[in-house]
């Protein structure tokens, strides 16, 4: 259903993503693990199309030269040249790293802005679903997004992405800076989204341990290349993964 084929991204002469191919079937959760600067966010930007916007802005400014190669297929359609807002229209929605919620808008308004693409009936259903999924948001509906705690902001960011009715949800480091309790809420929420709505999910994370139990298939990135891939069991049994990502 989704396939990223031989993605390569260069910032000037520095290679940020080297020949990475990822596939994701319908209703699957794919994990992508790697340390800082492994290329996780660049990968997410490449498949959500944000890289095209970054590239265009850099070009206009006369800044860094960014080159993107490779193809992205979604439901059999080549999306490589589709601009980010149109990719969202087709169902690929990115929940960005460090959340990037709208700080001056209330929680409810954040969710409403997220529902830009959906009709009013769908919006209502989605809103109910999000508030059921993360009941904590219900208590703060009218509080400004910027005043929420990190964990609540993350729930809001995921909720906002869900309001766009995605077919594939991209979660870029959703556990960054969260306490273990919130990590659990977010991880369980992610699994619930897949189980109840059948949305495919690609999730990136530095620490594999909290996410590993819910993924179907995983990739490990190092310095922009995908060095290892496998099902959950294969990855968990691999001695290199154990030492590097589980600290065993």
């Amino acid at each position: 259903m989704f396939e990223a084929f031989e993605l390569m991204v260069f910032f000037e002469n520095m290679i940020a993503l080297n020949n990475v191919s990822v596939t994701c079937g319908e209703g699957k959760i794919i994990g992508i693990f790697g340390s800082n600067s492994a290329g996780k966010s660049t990968f997410m930007h490449a498949i959500s199309g944000i890289i095209l916007d970054i590239k265009k802005k850099e070009e206009m400014r006369g800044g860094e030269r960014i080159s993107v190669y490779g193809r992205v297929f979604f439901n059999g359609k080549d999306m490589s040249a589709v601009r980010p807002h149109n990719r969202a229209k087709l169902g690929i929605v990115l929940c960005p790293e460090r959340r990037r919620i709208f700080p001056e808008s209330s929680v409810l308004e954040n969710l409403k802005i997220g529902s830009y693409l959906t009709g009013s009936r769908e919006t209502k259903q989605n809103l109910e679903y999000v508030l059921d999924l993360f009941p904590r948001l219900k208590d703060h509906l009218h509080r400004q997004g910027g005043f929420l705690s990190g964990g609540e902001q993350q729930m809001l960011a995921i909720g906002r992405a869900l309001m766009a009715s995605p077919k594939m949800l991209l979660l870029d480091e959703p556990l960054l800076g969260l306490s273990p309790a919130y990590q659990e809420i977010v991880v369980n929420g992610t699994k619930a989204i897949r189980d109840s709505k059948g949305i495919s999910i690609i999730i990136t994370e530095q620490y594999a341990r909290p996410v590993m139990p819910i993924i179907d298939y995983g990739y490990i990135l190092e310095n922009g290349s995908s060095v290892l891939m496998g099902t959950r069991e294969e990855l968990m049994d691999n001695p290199d993964v154990k030492s590097a990502y589980f600290g065993v």
């Binding site: 944000i50 916007d53 960005p96 802005i113 830009y116 992405a161 309001m163 766009a164």
Partner: protein, 289 residues
């Protein structure tokens, strides 16, 4: 008491002038220095429709004037600004150049002297708390308040308005949710220009349509926005009232010539004391980290 009445009227006039400038900046981050030119163009177009297409009713001329001004604004973005988006200095130079071209083009085309006058909506005046206020100024106050209310409701309760708010706060995050940033920018310029045209049609019956008006309006709009904090709506209201009353007070106690001095002095003081303005935040840094 007179002072209060005139102060309020002057303040609302200022906020009407600067509303379009703020709207464009807060949504697309384009400092629209062609704002003053669009203001004069809006007034002039209405005058042309009114005097050269005889028999056309006043309100239809107004409607046409506002719509065409708004189309000009959208065209400025669609054909020129889209190429230099994100480079602040180029945006300022380009919009200012367009403004100059429009204003001086109008002057060259014959917009000189005091013969260009829009009629008041209703002639006559009324006495409020000992101050004589003509109906046109009452309409300005009403229209100013109404515009603010409509804009507030528009940005809170309509899909496009909410998209505006999203883009204004975090362009890329909004993009990820399916909001087209170029389209919102075109729309913001169209609405901002329409507001400039609307302000012109409300305010110009009080005087003549002159090219210099465009430069004055630009300076007032920039002054209000700098003092209130660029792109802040609350800032526009507060700053309009500060400058508005300061102007009326200097006019009353010193001389009417000091209006412009007050505005410019206010910019300088703000930049010295609090460069980001009353409600402004320096977002630039935050975004880059």
């Amino acid at each position: 008491m007179e002072l209060v009445v005139y102060g309020i009227i002057n303040s609302i006039t200022l906020s009407l002038i600067s509303l379009g400038f703020t709207l464009v900046y807060s949504i697309s981050r384009v400092p629209n220095f062609a704002h003053g030119a669009l203001y004069v163009a809006g007034g002039y177009l209405t005058w042309v429709f009114l005097n050269h297409f005889l028999g056309i009713p006043y309100f239809l001329a107004i409607l046409l004037g506002v719509i065409i001004t708004s189309a000009v604004g959208a065209a400025i973005y669609q054909f020129i600004l889209v190429r230099i988006r994100g480079m602040e200095i180029s945006e300022i130079i380009a919009t200012y150049a367009i403004g100059l071209a429009i204003l001086e083009g109008l002057r060259w085309g014959g917009l000189r002297g005091g013969t260009f006058v829009l009629p008041a909506f209703f002639p006559g005046s009324v006495n409020i708390l000992g101050a004589s206020v003509d109906y046109q100024r009452l309409i300005i106050v009403g229209a100013g308040v109404l515009t603010f209310i409509i804009l507030y409701l528009f940005t809170r309760f309509t899909k496009v308005g909410l998209a505006f708010r999203g883009i204004a706060q975090d362009e890329r995050a909004a993009m990820m949710l399916g909001i087209n940033s170029d389209m919102t920018a075109v729309l913001s310029l169209a609405i901002g220009s329409a507001l400039a045209g609307l302000a012109a049609i409300l305010l110009l019956p009080l005087g003549n349509i002159v090219v210099e008006g465009g430069y004055n309006v630009l300076v007032f709009a920039v002054a209000v926005c700098v003092i209130g904090g660029l792109g802040s709506w609350g800032g526009v209201i507060v700053a309009s009232f500060i400058i508005g009353f300061a102007q009326i007070l200097t006019e009353y106690f010193i001389s009417a010539h000091y209006q412009m001095v007050v505005a410019l002095l206010a910019i300088i003081i703000t930049l010295l004391v609090k460069p980001s303005g009353i409600f402004g935040k320096q977002k630039e840094l935050e975004e880059r980290v």
